[in-house]
């Protein structure tokens, strides 16, 4: 069974890599790996194994776990140190890199774990674009991140978008370190 699991993992990661590679040009189209086909997994030789204990739940719990730190935190505390990772963009671009997709995969997992959360996806830009065009570029970034999450099965009505252009830089500096932080889609939990 262990072997079967690792084969399944391999298949899954191969599919993910393919999806990431294919998805590079058109970000929203990238899809998560399909679930491993359990029926084709080879059965281990020897005597039939005892029935698998049901201690590893496969499906996401419908209700958040009551005693975990995330579900007990206030919205402000959650957003101060958000479990939802921002994604960062190249200059003048709204393309989702492989690293972006990994971050969004994690965000999607969290949003599935906390199905009551509603989230605003904010699009931000650095100061090297114009104030006006950046309003639209930020929107395009927010839309790209949102579309990817929706493709992972997150309900569209949980995800609002807003663009702030270059009005609210996260880092007020004027160097590439600051610019890189400011070109982002930022996730704000608005209700839980």
């Amino acid at each position: 069974m262990k072997a079967a699991r690792s084969i399944a993992t391999l298949v899954a990661s191969a599919a993910l890599v393919t999806a990431v590679a294919c998805g590079k040009k058109t970000p929203p189209v990238a899809r998560p790996a399909p679930p491993p086909p359990t029926t084709t997994a080879p059965t281990p030789p020897g005597p039939p194994a005892p029935p698998e204990p049901a201690r590893e739940p496969v499906s996401v719990p419908a209700e958040p776990v009551r005693d975990d730190a995330i579900s007990s935190a206030s919205l402000d505390d959650l957003n101060k140190n958000s479990p939802l990772k921002p994604v960062y963009f190249e200059l003048d671009s709204s393309e989702l890199s492989a690293a972006n997709q990994k971050a969004l995969d994690d965000n999607a997992a969290l949003l599935k774990r906390y199905p009551s959360w509603a989230v605003t996806v904010e699009g931000h830009c650095d100061e090297r674009g114009t104030a006006e065009y950046n309003l639209a570029l930020g929107e395009r970034r927010a839309i790209a991140a949102r579309a990817y999450l929706v493709s992972l099965g997150i309900a569209a009505d949980r995800l609002r978008t807003v663009s702030y252009g270059k009005e609210f830089p996260f880092d007020p500096g004027h160097d590439e370190t600051a610019f890189a932080k400011n070109r982002r889609a930022h996730f704000v939990i608005t209700s839980k």
Partner: protein
């Protein structure tokens, strides 16, 4: 009885204390005893050379003396701004005996300094403000070619602006801009945006006189209010506001103190960057209501929506041609943001720029036929102007900080823009040839300016 008299007195006092909040751009009623229709000219075709000594205070109280001084200084600045006249340097005025009335002007001394024209004024305190008399003299003939009287205002700067506009009109056939105003967004109040754990400063809409005086806050949205645009009648400002969460178009009617919401509802997407049609009845703007940013036109009350562009790329930052028949805007349909022009009916699209990155087109008023825009040049942006009749583009700024968001003065002779050349983003004005740069704002960041019509 006593109470109602006091109330009435208070009301009068309040009105007097707020000189032109109620009645915009209303000059003190000029009375012209005689219109001689003469003009001052320079010698040999050069610009006439003027002297503007301090106006004469006809009473000795401090207020009258200060008013007389302010009028002459502001008048000098206003006249200098258009560069239609040259000036006798003010530091040599002291060598010439001061006139005490129109009767003892030392014309021969001014003539020695090669003055062509001389502006002499008197200021007298009266019950309703000041009684100001001004005469523009031809120094050679000693004739008052343009005598004027101004009554009913106590606002020295406004009296000076009025005199300047009238002198430019009568002497140079020029519509001056001394009584025009600027608007821009500013984070100077340092107030934090609510509803976010991030440290974000709100921005509010400000207005000022053309020379940066009388800076006043217009909005109290406690949110992001950006990219203001003056209505053609100067009574309203349209802008982009996030007060409903997303970006929407709002109009502040600044003299009534009322607010109009142009785009509202759940299905309107984001709405950005309203631009008034020349007749003031419509706004062009960009909206994502149909999926991606497109240019739309809507009546100022939100009715009669019309879509102008239809392209999966970004279309944003519209501006109207002076006739209202065309709209210029920014689109990245070619791969990078460039300036395009389309008919107001959505037909006859043409690409106007092929540079690295262009945005914020602003159409000049007639008789010029130009579009000013921000153009990427190295790490930042510079202001460039495209002459639509020749297709020639020229740069007006040259890499001093980043320079963005140009807008023309109503006479087309000046451009207001944002620059980081002095540190933070500030509003500057410059002449249409790029010279005579003046910094308008100093506190906080001040951006995306517009010039009243």
């Amino acid at each position: 009885m006593t109470k109602s008299i006091i109330t009435a007195l208070l009301a009068i006092a309040l009105l007097a204390a707020w000189p032109h909040a109620q009645q915009p751009a209303q000059p003190p009623a000029p009375q012209q005893p005689s219109e001689l229709g003469l003009t001052i000219s320079g010698e040999g075709g050069v610009a006439p050379r003027l002297a503007v000594p301090d106006f004469i205070a006809l009473s000795t109280d401090a207020e009258t003396i200060a008013t007389a001084k302010t009028i002459s200084q502001v008048l000098w600045d206003d006249l200098n701004f258009e560069r239609e006249f040259s000036f006798i340097p003010r530091d040599v005025y002291g060598s010439i005996p001061k006139a005490t009335s129109f009767g003892d002007i030392p014309f021969d001394r001014w003539r020695e300094l090669n003055a062509d024209g001389l502006i002499i004024g008197t200021v007298q305190k009266v019950s309703a403000g000041f009684h100001v008399e001004m005469k523009l003299y031809n120094v050679r003939t000693r004739q008052a070619v343009y005598p004027r009287v101004y009554d009913g205002s106590s606002n020295a700067r406004f009296i000076a602006h009025t005199i300047s506009d009238e002198i430019h009109k009568s002497q140079r056939a020029l519509n001056g801009v001394a009584r025009t105003r600027l608007t821009f967004d500013s984070d100077r109040d340092g107030e934090r945006m609510k509803g976010t754990v991030q440290n974000r400063s709100i921005k509010e809409i400000y207005i000022s006189d053309y020379d940066g005086e009388n800076q006043r806050r217009v909005t109290v949205g406690q949110t992001l209010n950006i990219a203001p645009r003056w209505s053609p009648d100067g009574r309203s400002i349209a802008y982009t506001s996030y007060r409903r969460g997303g970006a929407n178009l709002f109009i502040s009617n600044i003299f009534q103190g009322t607010l109009d919401e142009v785009t509202k509802g759940d299905k309107v997407g984001e709405n950005w960057l309203p631009a008034w049609s020349p007749d003031g009845t419509k706004l062009a703007f960009s909206s994502t209501r149909d999926g991606n940013p497109e240019i739309y036109v809507v009546n100022r009350d939100g009715s009669g929506l019309r879509r102008i562009t239809n392209n999966p790329s970004i279309d944003i930052t519209p501006t109207w041609s002076p006739s209202g028949t065309q709209i210029a805007f920014t689109s990245d349909r070619s791969g990078s943001p460039q300036i395009y022009v389309v008919g107001a009916d959505g037909l006859n699209l043409s690409k106007k720029t092929s540079e690295s990155y262009c945005d914020r087109p602003t159409w000049s008023p007639a008789p010029f036929n130009e579009i000013a825009f921000s153009s990427r040049s190295g790490p930042g942006f510079d202001i460039r102007v495209l002459d639509l009749s020749t297709g020639v583009t020229k740069a007006l700024t040259f890499g001093e900080g980043t320079n963005e968001s140009p807008a023309f003065s109503p006479n087309g002779r000046h451009i207001v823009f944002t620059s980081t050349r002095s540190g933070k983003a500030q509003v500057f004005t410059m002449a249409r040839d790029g010279k005579n740069v003046r910094q308008i704002t100093k506190a906080g960041n001040n951006e995306k300016p517009d010039w009243s019509k």
